[in-house]
Point group: C2
Chain length 357, copies 2
DNA sequence: CTGTATTATGCACACGAGTGCAAGACGGGC
DNA sequence: GCCCGTCTTGCACTCGTGTGCATAATACAG
């Protein structure tokens, strides 16, 4: 249908020179006389020449392309993080291939193979739960790989990574609750992200231990490990919170904000006021956190920054520069879902669609 | 650093044949004897051969690649829609280039140029507000273009498109409020999406007209047209709602769910109960809608489906098949933010961090 | 045993751009 | 007039894959 785009051969013919001269002229080579160079560049602009990046990739043995693997494009984390990656990549003249693999191992392998066929110059995987076969595949690719907020345990392979400081974040969250007078604090965990879940639980336990408080039976609630989708997080948080409430807690620290939303729903279901009767702290600080009722007190992860750092690390690796892994600090964001421990304990009531704000 | 990946030449050398034979054998050409073919395919597997898609693109004059333009990767709409696109693209063997252009015209043009250099076979733009220069650029590209939920007015250029039925959705929303007994209904509009805003406002007016109800002064509130970012939507909804509440409305139909969240915040600020005193209906049915308090009654857009349809339409265009634009129906989702009109009018009170659920 | 049909393989070129090397054009010094 | 140096350009090859056409190898009919 559409006519073939103009190539340097077309320009060469129009200018009465060889394509080699055109190539050099367009790259501002000093080998070409100023007169001819100007003439060719003018012609190129007039004819609407756009260099063929495919040919350049083939010749240059480098595609100027990276692959971004996300397990779920619906992950609320993804947006800002991908933007950070994209920003830095664009600035370096790299284009981004998007690869989604909704926690399906076969799809994940397919994405990696596709990147390999495309000869991407590097790969970033974002907040994923890569399985061992995928990691094996990645390590054999021969291109640099950076893991950003990898949720799964990375065994065997020494990949470079950018991670948020999960343990420190968890300590911040629990210390906040301790300062508000709470001592019966639950942890609602997500074992389907083994690594980050373990780190956050460790931070939780460390903070309590430092305050000389024992973790009582039933305070640590873990969801079923095989849960995978994002929608499940809310449901998991909800049921874990229902279980935790039976153990007499006055506060809960949740694996992430979606869990915290589930915990809010559980409280609403039981007619428990948040933060009046029970306090809740989340993790991640996704957009949603500020819009739920009450707005969530949570741990802020600098998602844009994580993406930028990941891409900068990848660039270092691609250029053969020395590269160091990053542990990125996180911050406590105090909103409204946690307050001083109540004097009395919890009562119940129920009802769908409460009067609301 | 990394050794060059194995090519068909390497396999040819190992098998003692020419690269042409290898090429044909790997593509299961009947020209090659079964014996040689099997031998070559075994060798290819052993040597870990991965075809070079760059070379194939150059030779085949087709990159098997499409470009996906999104104005903001943080747009809550984006996730599901992109997944729909990705699903269909993957199934057709196409890889997706991601292009973000946060409503910046220069960045938008840069993205398009980048796609042009990469010789993508088609382009999808998702829920964007493309400006005329970009549209000009797109139309000169010589590749099929599909607009999905284009927010801006498309002048001059007859692009193919997939759109949700904005007018019908607006009518559904307003009819729902009418059935609940409301007659003083506001429309909170977003003129920075001229096309969809106009269609939703028209639907709003049509529903009221059909019920024989006049639109009173101040019932239609429009934000400043230059607002661009996603975070602004909440603030805009909030201030528009404050203005609308002064006109004695009992319900508001909002341009989208983020506006509706802003409207909720406005009510909370004034101590107005939703839906007890004022009803609110949104548009889009983003994830957030079900988690705010009260959960939003809204118009559901089938985002995944929109993405799939957009990609299918693009495939039709790419293959030269007959292609027809799509107007996709939407549905009313009744949750909790709209109820029967109250007997008495509104009172006020205020306070940050209300007790919540 | 020769001529022809059939099958299997290789040669050579193409895709679009980049580049080492050779060579032509030109000027200047002797 | 000759030689050498400088500047400018073209030739020819490369990157990895695909394919039309020629050709070699084999089979088969007469």
């Amino acid at each position: 249908m559409a006519a073939r785009p103009v190539s340097i051969h077309d320009i060469a013919r129009a200018a009465g020179v060889s394509h080699a001269t055109v190539s050099r002229a367009l790259r501002d080579s000093p080998l070409i006389s100023a007169e001819v160079r100007g003439n060719i560049q003018r012609l190129a602009a007039e004819m609407g020449y756009t260099p063929n990046a495919v040919a350049q990739s083939l010749k240059g043995q480098r595609s100027n392309t990276i692959g971004l693997v996300v397990t779920s494009i619906a992950d609320p984390f993804y947006g800002r993080l991908a933007r950070g990656v994209d920003e830095v990549a664009k600035r370096a003249g790299l284009d981004v291939f998007l690869g989604v693999s909704y926690n399906d191992e076969a799809a994940e392998l397919a994405v990696i193979r596709s990147f390999q066929r495309r000869r991407v110059d590097g790969i970033i995987t974002a907040s994923s739960r890569l399985t061992d076969p995928s990691l094996d595949q990645l390590s054999q690719l021969g291109v640099p790989v950076v893991l950003v907020n990898q949720h799964a345990d990375v065994t065997r392979h020494p990949f470079h990574s950018v991670q948020a400081d999960n343990a420190a974040g968890a300590r911040l969250a629990v210390q906040h609750l301790l300062e508000l007078g709470h001592s019966a604090i639950a942890y609602l965990g997500a074992p389907n992200r083994p690594r980050s879940n373990r780190q956050r639980e460790q931070g939780y336990r460390a903070a309590l231990a430092a305050a000389g408080i024992a973790v009582q039976d039933g305070f640590v609630q873990q969801a079923a490990p095989e849960r995978r989708s994002y929608a499940d997080d809310v449901a998991d948080g909800q049921s874990l919170m229902l279980a935790a409430l039976r153990t007499g807690i006055t506060a809960a620290f949740c694996f992430n904000d979606m869990y915290a939303v589930g915990a809010l729903l559980a409280c609403r279901e039981l007619g428990i006021r948040v933060p009046g009767q029970v306090s809740i702290v989340g993790f991640d600080d996704i957009e949603l956190a500020q819009y739920v009722t009450p707005p969530l007190t949570t741990i802020h992860q600098p998602k844009l920054r994580l993406g930028q750092l990941g891409m900068e690390l990848l660039l270092d690796l691609m250029e053969g520069r020395p590269a160091t892994d990053q542990l990125v600090p996180v911050e406590l964001v105090v909103r409204c879902s946690a307050s001083r421990v109540p004097a009395v304990t919890v009562q119940l009531a129920a009802g769908p669609c409460p009067a609301g704000s």
